[in-house]
């Protein structure tokens, strides 16, 4: 996430300040989940026997923080979660990654983790759809499935004994992502939910919230069906691939572009994600939809969503929404 600078005038600064303060006061766990800086003492109930986790230190009988972040408690374990932390994978996470390398019988993907994740050839559906043993020919044709720098959606299968991460992309909903754009945000802004692959019908856009902070916003692609459809699709793909590698006339290429309306929706959603990420709010489908509706109701031009006025409006909107939510609960 690149650092951004907002130039706000005085009133906008005040409004933003007020909205953020309101949000802070509304967050229910403001006592035990205090944010700490280095050398702050962590309030702990010592009689219970506390397990000191990452980012803590026992100093003169007190538990002291060694990192700047938020205190997390799980039963007896107390640890510090930093805000700009790297992605911490868990089995079953859906992630979006970029292929960095093709190695024997596997692809290596960059997923904003400390090391590249591995997607084995055997964990990937073959293009002809048949379940069979991978042969040497399949290994040589790996590039026809994924090339370097391709964007891939996959699921975390688990960790190997040596600590490396393994992925699988066996279902039809996973695989290569084209016709769209990837956004990078902090991983902790994407909360783990039941569903990460969303199809927004009113926009005709696929939205994939990868747990590693890579968000994919793209044109909707129907999940490929059974064997017969695979073959016809493959024939089409071969045609477009060969024609794109040679000189394509202007009209042909224009035909393959995304339609303008879908593109506008994609850009609006992408800008909504950028605004939310820069403000530090969690990115969920509901919030994204609300932000997009807010921008369309104000008749803002898509690029104006990245201006300072919209940032302030989004912060205020989020504050009012949270306050209404807590009022409903309480």
């Amino acid at each position: 996430m690149r650092g951004f600078q907002l130039s706000l005038n005085q009133t906008q600064k005040l409004r933003l300040q007020r909205a953020l303060e309101q949000l802070e006061s509304l967050s229910s766990k403001s006592n035990s989940n205090a944010s700490v800086a280095v050398a702050d003492t962590i309030p702990v109930n010592y009689e219970d026997g506390v397990l000191k986790g990452h980012g803590t230190l026992d100093l003169d009988g007190e538990v002291v923080a060694t990192l700047c972040g938020v205190v997390e408690r799980v039963n007896k374990l107390v640890y510090i979660r930093t805000l700009r932390a790297r992605y911490k994978p868990e089995t079953g996470d859906i992630i979006v990654g970029r292929v960095t390398e093709i190695a024997p019988k596997r692809w290596r993907l960059d997923i904003n983790f400390s090391q590249d994740a591995v997607l084995m050839l055997s964990s990937m559906n073959l293009p002809d759809g048949i379940q069979r043993r991978r042969t040497a020919v399949d290994e040589l044709n790996m590039r026809s499935i994924f090339e370097e720098n391709d964007i891939v959606c996959a699921e975390v299968r688990g960790f190997q004994h040596d600590g490396s991460l393994h992925l699988q992309a066996r279902s039809q909903k996973y695989g290569k992502l084209e016709r769209g754009q990837v956004l990078t945000i902090s991983p902790y802004l994407v909360k783990r939910r039941k569903q990460h692959l969303h199809y927004l019908e009113e926009f005709g856009v696929d939205l994939i919230l990868g747990c590693n902070g890579f968000i994919w916003v793209g044109e909707h692609v129907e999940a490929k069906g059974i064997l017969i459809e695979d073959q016809t699709d493959k024939a089409e793909q071969l045609n477009t691939k060969s024609s794109s590698s040679t000189f394509m006339s202007l009209e042909e290429q224009e035909r393959t572009y995304t339609s303008l309306e879908t593109r506008q929706n994609i850009c609006r959603i992408a800008n909504a994600v950028r605004v939310l990420a820069n403000l530090g709010f969690s990115v969920t489908v509901e919030v994204i939809k609300e932000t997009v509706n807010l921008s369309s109701s104000l008749n803002l031009d898509i690029h104006e969503m990245l201006g300072s006025e919209f940032y302030v409006l989004v912060a205020e909107g989020e504050a009012t929404r949270k306050s209404m939510f807590t009022k409903k609960k309480g």
């Binding site: 690149r2 650092g3 951004f4 600078q5 130039s7 005038n9 970029r98 960059d110 090339e147 370097e148 720098n149 391709d150 964007i151 290569k176 992502l177 084209e178 016709r179 769209g180 754009q181 990837v182 793209g218 794109s244 040679t246 000189f247 394509m248 006339s249 202007l250 290429q253 224009e254 393959t256 572009y257 995304t258 303008l260 593109r263 506008q264 850009c267 609006r268 992408a270 800008n271 950028r274 031009d301 898509i302 690029h303 104006e304 969503m305 990245l306 201006g307 300072s308």
Partner: protein
């Protein structure tokens, strides 16, 4: 800089063809930019320009030195930047107008400053003492379009520059250097309306011949660029320099198109913002929607302290 997949490249090119880039901008729309002056108090003049994710700082330092023998009645200027060779060469050509033969960083901006500022105001004692201006540029973060940002930063820094008034001690000096007394209070300022502003137009071409070019490319769009033309335009609308980068060829009609677009860009309106002490002065509006966009996005925090 991470690579881009074929699908993403196709998406970017489609966006440019349909006049809707990935962040929703049109082809000829700039990102919101922000200019601050006086960021380096120890320098005589400084400015910081933020253009989207690109962040550059330019500083001007003035020191007393000896004028060059060929121009005893003018001051001198020197420039230095930490840029790749290609960009540094491009920057010189843009500001300089193609007169420089050497690709070195030194001695280049003298001619530009001669065009933009009255260098005779920099002289203290003719033939013996003059002010040397050292202009440095630093790229803090790059998100594409460095040339435009640096050009704007240099112009703003020059506007912000204050050269201390100097009193020359009366007395026979002969060949030695005369005594000078640098005042701490009074400052001279330049009229920088002649200093040009750079506009870069990037062409992201595919295999076919397209006529679309964009202004203010982000890093991803720049990685796809086939060629780029940078034009430096002075406040009076005159072209001071032009350079083309990139390996692909350009049709001459496309270049003429680009030049006329560069002359009427909103960044040109920033000549008035970057060059005048009073930003409330309205400038002549060529295209009212550009002016509205300008007022919405360009926020000047402090112009002259």
């Amino acid at each position: 800089m991470v690579g881009l997949s074929v699908g993403e490249k196709h998406f970017i090119q489609g966006g440019i063809a349909q006049d809707l880039r990935t962040d929703g901008r049109r082809r000829l729309t700039y990102r919101p930019f922000n200019v601050e002056t006086g960021v380096i108090p120890q320098a005589n003049g400084s400015a910081r320009v933020r253009l989207g994710g690109t962040d550059v700082i330019a500083s001007v330092k003035a020191e007393l030195g000896k004028p060059s023998p060929s121009q005893p009645d003018k001051g001198k200027g020197r420039g230095g930047e930490e840029l790749s060779t290609e960009l540094s060469g491009a920057l010189q050509h843009c500001l300089l107008g193609g007169k420089s033969g050497a690709v070195g960083d030194m001695e280049v901006l003298t001619n530009v400053l001669g065009a933009g500022i009255d260098l005779s105001s920099l002289v203290v004692v003719e033939g013996k003492v003059c002010w040397d201006l050292y202009i440095d540029g630093l790229v803090v973060s790059s998100d594409g379009n460095l040339l435009d940002a640096l050009g704007a930063a240099i112009k703003a820094a020059l506007t912000n520059t204050g050269i201390p008034k100097v009193e020359v001690a009366v007395g026979a000096s002969g060949d030695g250097l005369p005594e000078v007394d640098i005042s701490d209070d009074e400052y001279l300022q330049f009229d920088t309306s002649g200093v040009p502003v750079i506009v870069t137009l990037t062409k992201v071409a595919q295999y076919h011949v397209g006529r679309h070019y964009i202004v203010d490319a982000t890093l991803e769009e720049e990685s796809q660029m086939s060629s780029a033309v940078s034009v430096s335009v002075s406040g009076q609308g005159r072209i001071c320099g032009l350079i083309k980068r990139g390996g692909a060829g350009l049709d001459p009609s496309v270049i003429l198109d680009m030049i006329s677009v560069a002359k009427h860009k909103p960044l040109k309106k920033s000549h008035d913002y970057l060059g005048t002490p009073d930003i409330t002065q309205p400038s002549s509006i060529q295209n009212s929607s550009w002016m509205q966009y300008l007022l919405y996005t360009n926020k000047l925090t402090e112009l002259l302290e």
